[in-house]
Symmetry: D2
Subunit: 338 residues, 4 copies
């Protein structure tokens, strides 16, 4: 850690900082510049609390020089991690498209959806049984019954099921239904108790980015899961909140190469929630794969105009099929397969 | 709801929208302008799903004209609601300052804090036993033991205790310790399952604004609590996330008059988390009260330089006392008391 | 325009709004709903001033239903516009890559840069003679002398020159040197006097997006240029400002399909300023082309480590060459050429 | 400057950084930590170009430790600067309220406005003759004729006139009319050529914050003016752009104490543009003064409902008078006068 003293800092204040550094078991290196004295803390700086240092008299600012995340960092694990989902590899050379409706509505809807997902060439299926809704008066999902419908539809095509967990109390139900991939939604990215729970089990977890989470906070959220023992983590960029009002969120395509540099774990993109409109999905999907994403999480509904939620952002089955064709060519252009 | 058709929309598409409006039990009013046809949906538009309308062919955009929140809206409840906390009125003419440390550390620290809170003239005390921390390796709070220490310190001065609930599974513990005010933190503002739980009990709830939550989302989060039957809700503005990096968050002072207009419920401000540095707290506190806030949630620590968390943002006991003096004069300037 | 009255609005207030609408030469359509009265203004609503309507007693809010831009709107000009730059077509099937250094430094630097740009297969060259710098103490560009050096280097390979205009008083100099494409920088997007000036001449203009400009403001800035008579406008997305601090800006890839829908004019992307680091440029460039951009504006320097500005974001000549190879394949994947 | 090498950096790369530091005339201090080597550059680091250092092989990141601004910094000029405007002191103990209409419309409107400004107890008057408008089709201001009308109205009450300069070519006209205070608008904050021009004259300048400018960029914009020799600079916070859509901008009240700490120059606030609605102005004005602002720039119109621009944000004469009463009491509460 680097501690910059303000330009009127006296010797007593400098000694105060050095003493605090030593209390934490680190060594101090003092460098007296022309305008400022700078103190370097040598040793495992993760032990040092930045707020405590900042609170000391005479300190102007302090900066960590090592990253606060460890298990998820590529720095300590150079090769790409591949998450295995029922034999399907996510994070390798093959790009994976996870498709399906926003929410589980009826058995026929799920049956049709599964068939279309399979026919389009996708190998995993998504669908929500527990739904986070802005309004308490909106449809909140079928709950456990939805998981049953989902499983019945998905198993016909051997599609692993991907679905969102909102509350630690539902985890037992998820395990009972043997959900294949647990999704942590954008509003739960910093639900630390929930992260600890999915860290204790042995299931792949898709960790969506909080709507205004920094890259660093997102990596730390993953570190929560990893610290519990579960390293099967997949990052999912889904758009961030900005000042722009034309679209719901801004897909942060830069996050893809940045995450690939910072972590060894796979990175996928949700182009449906990012834009919020079905007509934006193809362009965003192509951009994501071109930028290096390992996969997509796409909304498709057998009949979007009748969807119970997010009707305006779901692709039709034909649109999904068309998209898959283009994505295959983009993947090839960068040396990958679909 | 107003539905604007795009300028090439044909009669069949207009009929499709009218049909859908009627399916939901509303009436349609068609207005053919020079460049666009506009359809008004007459009736209880909360029944209409905007996404479904937007997904219909020929629709350019749609807009709700009534607010989605009802119980918390001032439109339906003109007079100010006052939340009674052990006989202390929050939301009335008297401004309330809730002070205390970021986290419960030790019994002597809490005892000293309680004494200073009381001596400064504050009538409620804050302190965290369950702490949301960005890093899994940071101190996570003493948990239930912290509640015990807090109670012991607070009851000596008859200070109601305000503390954060992070997980629905801890609610029983909170009830057992008879926590006086339950705080829902910024990361939990849209933890809908948690909101439902605190909606079922009869305890005042401080609902902090999500770090990038809109006013509308925040009101809807309160509506979740209110819909469960608990109307003792206090909004707490604590700074929003922006592009500015000099300070941790931007205190959104405009939210104060806006909330007072939109809802009948009390509004308080957390100046400590907003700025992130103790030296900013007095100016932000004065601004909040001057703008019409009903109270503050302020961090004070007996010895900030030794605090276990947020050391750089806690006031000293003397700083709190000084602040109280100025706030009293500001309150008087706008016809209130402290 | 739709005017929503608040729920206590009386007849006198409704009459006031109707009267104001008629003063502007439009007709009023009154729709009395269950909770609100809504008034539609029928006619050319661009004549109506929204702020004036909002200021009337009883008005809750008002909304325009037609777009404020006209000349640049695809609604009134369905086919793609192609900007012709010395015979090179921008906005057609062929994707154009404009490359070159951040700033004009020396004649040898520009000569080498022009050669590398040409050898990589790019058909246009960029370089700054007048530089907008955050600090008054930083290198401000060579000014007119820079234009001379740039021309000398570029003409050897018949590369049209693209360079930034910062002040209307420099326009004469730009015309004297016959600059081929005038770039309006991000900080000048709403320099309305400057926009009016470039609207009066007959040169292609690259209009960069302001760092926190909405899509609508950006289109209106282009409308300023178009209203003067110059329709040779090229939009350039260069990243927007958000809360994220890992990278300088967030490349708003969603803006590409959105602009292609809203305007008939070409759209290019500056991946260098978006990310701010050379290692991010390839991924962002691929994403931009995959999303449908008509071209790129990329920084390349013969020896980045010695560049006088933006040294950390310039590609090396070899990196540019490699990038061109991949971009050709991405372009083919979506049916375009490079 | 502190340069952090990445954890695989070798000796040759470290030497490369040291060599570059010495080229700029500074000394290097090498500190080898457990995970990273950190190099400190000792000397006048303003000479060092951060981008050049970041571009060197093996560098992970670099950080400036001294502020890039000098003349405007409080670090080098401890006491408050007071700007004298025709004998009226801005920046001292007395708070100054500058009031008037958005734009100069007619002589009677300006005459009435001047009278109301004077009667409310304000000592300076605002009004726009050259107007930055988002749409090319909107009223652009009366230009020079407006300055004449403004002067005629203002001189009757000895009110110094404050008006916006948008283009360097208009400066001569401003000098001819002896405009008392030149306002640089939010869209011009980084119009560096314009800043240089007002730096060369001897008139007070109000520098509005760019709508998404950081504190540091804002201070650097002031440094541009100061570097030209004009130190009569007044900062004006006018709200920043965020994700919130309920109000036009978010008044950044935290910027007030932060600027007062970073610079010796006066800081005022524009509550009218911040909120965008007249009903928000009183609360925001009170908050600004309570937080320590040296003055306000407020819109008042004799008859807001007929204003040619920003009709919905102007106070009525009576509202201004009422506001002045409360502000006087707030000023007193913090030991100032109005």
């Amino acid at each position: 850690m680097i501690i910059v003293m303000n330009n009127g800092a006296n010797e007593e204040q400098i000694d105060g900082v050095v003493k605090k550094i030593k209390e934490f078991g680190l060594e101090a290196n003092i460098s007296r510049g022309t305008e400022r004295t700078v103190i370097g803390a040598i040793g495992d700086e993760r032990k040092l609390d930045q707020e405590l240092i900042d609170a000391l008299p005479g300190v102007e600012q302090s900066m960590h020089i090592v990253k606060p995340y460890k298990i998820v960092a590529r720095e300590w694990h150079k090769q790409d991690s591949i998450v295995d989902i029922m034999g399907i590899k996510l994070g390798g050379n093959q790009v994976q498209i996870i498709a399906g409706p926003c929410s589980v509505e009826t058995q026929p809807q799920m049956d049709a959806a599964a068939q279309y997902v399979h026919e389009a060439g996708c190998r995993l299926m998504r669908g929500g049984a527990f739904k986070p809704r802005t309004s308490p008066y909106a449809f909140q999902g079928h709950g456990e019954e939805g998981l049953t419908m989902f499983r019945k539809a998905a198993e016909r095509y051997n599609l692993p099921m991907v679905t969102e967990l909102m509350d630690a109390r539902q985890l037992e139900t998820f395990m009972k239904h043997d959900v294949d991939v647990i999704q942590i939604g954008t509003r739960s990215m910093q639900n630390f108790d929930l992260l600890k729970e999915v860290g204790r089990i042995n299931k792949p977890v898709i960790l969506k980015r909080g709507m205004s989470a920094t890259i660093s906070e997102w990596l730390m959220a993953a570190e929560y899961i990893a610290a519990g023992g579960n390293h099967n983590i997949i990052f999912c960029e889904r758009g961030i909140r900005t000042f722009e009002t034309y679209y719901r969120n801004v897909l942060d395509v830069t996050a893809i190469p940045v995450l690939k540099k910072e972590t060894h774990l796979p990175v996928i993109v949700d182009p449906s929630h990012a834009g919020g409109k079905a007509w934006m999905v193809p362009a965003l999907s192509r951009a994501a794969i071109a930028a290096g994403a390992d996969g997509l999480l796409v909304e498709m509904h057998p009949t979007p105009c009748e969807a119970w939620c997010d009707a305006d952002q779901a692709l039709t089955p034909q649109e999904l099929k068309d998209l898959m064709g283009t994505l295959g060519m983009i993947a090839n252009a960068i040396g990958r397969t679909l």
